[in-house]
Amino acid sequence: MADTPEEIKSHFKLYFTIAGVLFVGTVLTVLVATVESLDIGGHGFDTYDLVLGLAIATFKMCCVGYVFMHLNHEKKAIYWIFFGSLAFAAILIGLFGWAFGDPIIFDGMLPAKPGQ
């Protein structure tokens, strides 16, 4: 780990900056969700709000991960382990979604017999 005392001291400014970004991001999330004039898309909660909210949340999570959790200069093994698990979580959600979202639809009619 590149964590000598000097290096750590040089990161202090970055830590404070990210903290600020996180606070601002949180306030932004609330504003976008609650202020009528900032509600893009339709009135009320819809896909646009969903995407925007998740995008801001993802950005904040990446800030915490890259800077506070040192993922910006970690070792290969750690990258494999952590991003591998994210990949598996994505597979889980993706395949669950496909299974739920694409069921057999039976409209109550048997297929027509030949000649009918």
């Binding site: 395949l95 496909w98 694409d102 069921p103």
Partner: protein, 612 residues
């Protein structure tokens, strides 16, 4: 930099031990006891299947108190409720309390650090906690047999809404079998997670000098992949378990669909809107990797035993390593082949069909490599080798019978039939268990300094091999004929007289005779385990002593330790100079060249090459 003293008392040395070897033996003994319990439950079930109208005979029922019998048997016969309880617990105990702890907990713990040249696991205290969480979880589950509600009774798969409704009409939900099953499962999952973190860290960071990745014995690769499967696949089941606990304790409807009605409660007073399918997906997301967790430690044992007993390197080591990693990855994307009849569209079930067929490829690579490893070898039929050789065709049958089940169309016909039971038992019982027995016979001398008795070994092996095929092969036949799973009377309720027009009843009638064949075979199989139990104990103090620290003349690092290995395992820091299966090298006089033997001082250039 250690924080333990070097003169621990008896309790700290043997009971709350932090030594991976003691913990491994603890896991092994506990798992074998649970396997025995699971076996007994199955024997009662098989009585009910073969002789549903006859009361349980004295030689089986003496174990139960009269009060228990008065409650759970009717006229001495096994009731449907009792059968379901035994069935659910048989599956749970065998899978979660028996085979996984034996394969991964016992062999993973005992052998892995030795084979990589480590003084212990990376986190000894965590290791100890893993074992005790396992024991507590297991005792919670089995203790529930004595509750008023009895133990869990909704299958080892515990599908809601049945599993939420079962035992729901009890005032104290904490003291019901279903709840204890869920809470015990949370303990077991926590135990597994800690164990897998330990194993992976150990393998990554504590390898001896010179032990590069491709010099690791195949067992270590298998344990690494197994640990990753446990690490990543168990949490969704923990989620499902937690959500079911919330359903039971707080009345939520995670898995309760709307409009549920039962005879006990009328319209169920729950909000509804939940999804039983969600549980199935979460369960099988673990359930499928779980079967590879069962398998890989057994293959690991066989992969170590075969080279040592053919005096040849393992054939296709690199392919096996690659295959086991691919197998691990693929195992995460095949699970819905357990759910073909849940109404998924043809596109997604085809996806799972394709991945399932694909996953047979690495499995075949593993088995074929092991088989080819026998070719041209100087085979020594020691007891471990006999078990390992039996593993190959038995697991082969199990695996091949799985192929039809991979196809969604065939699954429609075979789902929930005895064919499935025959398939997975073939893989686990004559397959995996034989592999694990091989491991026990193989490493027993290292653990206790004495060989297990060979005559008793044969008495264990041959009747087991014959009987076990008579137990499970007829299941494949019955299943294809249409026999359902979980019939507590073995199909007796459907049998019709010889002149009836009921086709299904006639089919049942034609095949129901196999039930008694299987049940008698089970009783023979039970008797065949007695020599093994005796052998385990008598060999400990009266077995033939080992000639030296490496009685099998093997090449991997565990044989470089004293017998049994002491605290810290190795007397000097081990270093590795070559691959794990250097047998019968033409340039060597002896037919094996252990990994740890320093090469004789040669010319300068080769000396430097050997260092790493």
């Amino acid at each position: 930099m250690s924080d333990h003293d070097h003169n621990p008392g008896f309790v700290q040395k043997y009971i709350f031990s932090q030594d991976h070897k003691i913990i491994g033996i603890q896991y092994g003994l506990t798992a074998l006891l649970f396997l025995l319990l699971g076996f007994f439950l199955m024997m009662v079930m098989r009585w009910s299947i073969a002789y549903p109208n006859e009361p349980l005979p004295e030689w089986m029922s003496w174990v139960f108190t009269d009060t228990w019998k008065g409650r759970w048997l009717t006229d001495g016969k096994v009731t449907g409720e009792t059968y379901n309880m035994f069935g659910a617990m048989h599956g749970t105990i065998m899978v979660f309390l028996g085979v996984v702890p034996l394969g991964f907990g016992a062999f993973g713990n005992y052998v892995t650090p030795l084979q990589i040249g480590a003084p212990d696991m990376a986190f000894p205290k965590l290791n100890m906690m893993s074992y005790w969480l396992y024991l507590v979880g297991g005792l919670m589950m089995c203790g529930s047999f004595f509750l008023e509600s009895g133990a869990a009774k909704s299958g080892w798969t515990n599908y809601p809404p049945l599993s939420s409704i079962a035992d729901s009409q009890h005032p104290h939900q904490f003291f019901t079998g279903q709840t204890q099953w869920l809470l015990g499962l949370v303990m077991l999952i926590s135990s597994s997670l800690l164990g897998s973190v330990n194993v992976i860290t150990t393998i990554i960071n504590l390898r001896a000098k010179g032990l590069t990745w491709l010099r690791m014995p195949f067992l270590v690769w298998a344990m690494l992949v197994t640990a990753f499967l446990l690490l990543l696949a168990f949490p969704p089941l923990e989620v499902a378990g937690i959500m079911q606990v919330v359903d039971r304790f707080f009345g939520s409807s995670f898995f309760q669909p709307s409009g549920l009605y039962t005879s006990a409660t009328g319209v169920v007073e729950q909000a509804g809107g939940g999804s039983p399918l969600l549980f199935q997906h979460l369960f099988w997301f673990l359930g499928h990797p779980e079967v590879y967790v069962l398998l890989l430690p057994a293959i690991a044992c066989v992969a170590e035993i075969i080279p040592a007993n053919t005096r040849k390197p393992l054939w296709g080591y690199k392919s096996m390593v690659f295959a086991v990693m691919v197998l691990g990855f693929l195992s995460f994307i095949v699970w819905a082949h357990h759910m073909y009849i849940t109404g998924m569209s043809s596109s997604i079930s085809t996806f799972f069909q394709v991945t399932t067929v694909m996953i047979s490829v690495p499995s075949v690579i593993l088995i074929t490599s092991l088989l080819i490893s026998l070719w041209g070898g100087s085979i020594r039929f020691t007891m471990p080798m006999i078990w390992a050789c039996a593993f190959l065709p038995m697991f082969g049958i199990g695996g091949l019978t799985g192929l039809p089940l991979a196809f969604n169309l065939v699954g429609l016909h075979l789902h929930d039939t005895y064919y499935v039971i025959g398939h997975f038992h073939y893989v686990v019982a004559p397959g995996i268990l034989f592999g694990l027995f091989a491991g026990i016979y193989y490493w027993y001398p290292k653990m206790f300094g004495r060989h297990m008795n060979v005559f008793l070994g044969h008495l264990h092996f041959w009747p087991s091999l014959v009987a076990i095929n008579f137990v499970f092969f007829p299941m494949l036949m019955q299943g294809m004929a249409g026999f359902h799973r979980r019939w507590y009377n073995g199909g007796d309720a459907y049998v019709v007289d010889a002149d009836s027009a009921n086709v299904f009843g006639q089919i049942v009638r034609d095949n129901i005779g196999l039930n008694s064949v299987m049940s008698v075979a089970v009783f023979v199989l039970a008797a065949a385990q007695l020599p093994f139990i005796i052998n385990l104990f008598t060999s400990w103090f009266a077995g033939k002593e080992v000639a030296n620290d490496n009685p099998w003349d093997a090449t991997t690092l565990e044989w470089a330790t004293p017998t049994p290995p002491g605290h810290g395992n190795f007397t000097t820091e081990p270093a590795v100079y070559r691959g794990p299966y250097e047998y019968s090298r033409p340039d060597r006089e002896e037919d094996f060249y252990p990994q740890w033997i320093e090469p004789a001082k040669k010319a300068e250039s080769s000396e430097n090459n050997d260092a790493k």
